[in-house]
Symmetry: C2
Subunit: 348 residues, 2 copies
């Protein structure tokens, strides 16, 4: 570990690529394909590039390793853990260290952690804002010229880049799928109604119902915490309805897993007796039994894309914000099942 700072030339030589390719990787550029990026990143790690830079920094104590901040609103939801892993994947290759803080939906705590990250000289911030966040909450960062990318939930009026999912299209596709399976009583379960994401998904749900000539029934919209426990709670209320639903679009995968748990507690088998669709496509969606039909947002992919957008802003020194909407796709697995005639009869 007494080796001096590794140069870009050495990395390029060891990886068998050009100097400019190494530079692009270090900048997190999306121009480099995944295979090359992985190869160069492996060489960078092998040669201890970042570690030795840390040692070099100790000698010239003014320069410090570069940090990307990431602030999430609910670390206990695996969506955010996966998002953070995706961000880390990209920023690590670009020579950054990622520091994550959790706000647990507290706007006050969010102000504190953002202030602390600013003091510690973050190069940029990725934030999934707490409920009730206002543009003013990001102002100190924006005023300092620190690039910000807002993900998952938008902040209306904040002059920063954003990466959202196409919530409307995703929710519509999910409901169309349930309608095609023969369902007519379709619930919308879980989520906090005061968030933009909830509103967008609900409108998508309503649009698809309308296209299928199914009247909207407000009693089928049952909100709850966007968590597994919230899902158990929502389905418990749904099965107690007089004219009960035969399927549900859930606010997210966490809610959908809770709905599956709650169905079983009510002696109904998800997939067979009741159609369940989630939203996110967390890792667990694939291995769950039944495997979860869900609108894939691909949290790790979203994290990688957010990181690329942020690095682009950092490297260009360009303050013009970009608003991106990530496409989503319905992944049909087992939990949406067909609408069974006996269930329809029971509930008609």
């Amino acid at each position: 570990m007494t080796k001096e700072r590794i140069t870009v030339v050495e990395i390029a030589h060891a990886a068998g690529v050009s100097k400019s390719t190494v530079s692009l990787v270090l900048q997190g550029s999306s121009l480099v394909n995944e295979v090359t990026r992985a190869k160069v990143s492996a060489v960078i790690r092998e040669l201890g590039y970042v570690y030795n830079r840390g040692a070099a920094n100790l000698r010239q104590s003014n320069s410090k390793s570069k940090i990307i901040g990431i602030v999430v609103n609910d670390l206990t939801n695996s969506f955010f853990a996966e998002l953070a892993v995706g961000v880390d994947d990209v920023v690590q290759s670009a020579g950054y260290v990622q520091f994550l803080s959790n706000t647990g939906e507290s706007v006050d705590r969010q102000r504190e952690v953002i202030a602390s990250m600013r003091e510690h000289g973050i190069s940029g911030l990725i934030v999934s804002p707490a409920r009730g966040t206002e543009p003013a909450d990001l102002k100190p960062l924006v005023a300092s010229g620190i690039p910000v990318v807002v993900v998952v939930r938008n902040i209306q009026g904040a002059k920063v880049s954003s990466l959202m999912s196409d919530n409307h299209a995703g929710a519509s596709a999910a409901v169309e799928h349930l309608v095609a399976l023969g369902h007519r009583r379709i619930a919308f379960l879980g989520g906090f109604p005061d968030t933009a994401v909830f509103a967008e998904r609900l409108v998508g749900y309503q649009t698809a119902l309308k296209s299928a000539d199914i009247a909207f029934d407000a009693s089928l919209v049952i909100s709850s915490a966007p968590s597994r426990a919230g899902g158990v709670d929502a389905i418990d209320r749904a099965v107690r309805l007089g004219d009960r639903p035969t399927a549900a679009l859930c606010f997210n995968d966490a809610v959908a897993f809770g709905v599956c748990d709650g169905l079983r507690a009510n002696r109904l088998e998800p997939g067979a007796d009741f159609g369940v669709i989630g939203f996110d496509d967390v890792i667990e969606a694939k291995t769950a039994v039944p495997a979860l039909t869900t609108v894939s947002v691909d949290p790790q992919g979203m994290g990688r894309r957010a990181a690329q957008l942020l690095l682009k802003q950092i490297n260009s020194g360009n303050a013009d914000p970009e608003a991106l909407v990530g496409s989503v796709r319905l992944v049909v697995r087992e939990s949406s099942g067909p609408a069974r005639r006996d269930v329809e009869k029971r509930t008609a």
Copy 2:
């Protein structure tokens, strides 16, 4: 937000407690009971103590907000997300901001993030070390006099404080419970065999088998990644054994959930057809169907305790490390079920 720095006297007045109680809360002392701590913390947040301190720091730009670093080896395992939430709960009350980094089991990445945290002047570090971590990896921190608390996995020979779980006692209690239910073919599923935690839990499993006069059968120990997918994989191999097991102690809850998924994929109902016990007691263990019998480590509680130990080290300026072992308890829910005679017959 133009208010000057809030004083301890003002906080004490608003919370109706003494000045010294406020100081104890700010130091994260365990001498203050939970109710008082919560009340004082609420007042601190309400008065914007930390936030204004941030503003004050901007004027005197040398002092920065105080940071606690937390480094985990697998953020996608909800155990670590819950642990981090527990740490945050305590350090937040003490006026610290928590920065988290994920190593994804990479010792190289761990060196980088720890170096970066040191450069950025963390007050202390809580680390669940990546596989293969050596005492030398923590040396730069220890040499700088920065307190470190190692959690979950010990690092032999590192002269730092540690907080482990009583893995031996927990695994023994779980196996004793399965034996009492009539199981004789009990598997140990999941986990990486090269970790100290695996070794401790395996020895606990063996001790309980011995007490019950059940011969140890190495074919019933099936290791895998300590994840949900790893659990699916492990049970798939277990059910293919000639003399197959009727129950299993799983390395952790993530593995246990995967085992439940994999059992259903093999048309076996966890709890009814096969006894399953996890280790950790993550939030989901309670709401899962069947609810998971597990050895409760209480991840949030462990996080809080680790934070209190770290704050004590920071505040005392005392470098003498402490080694704590947290007690665990078996929480019996539905997944361990009774050993069914027909299952025993089928496998005998």
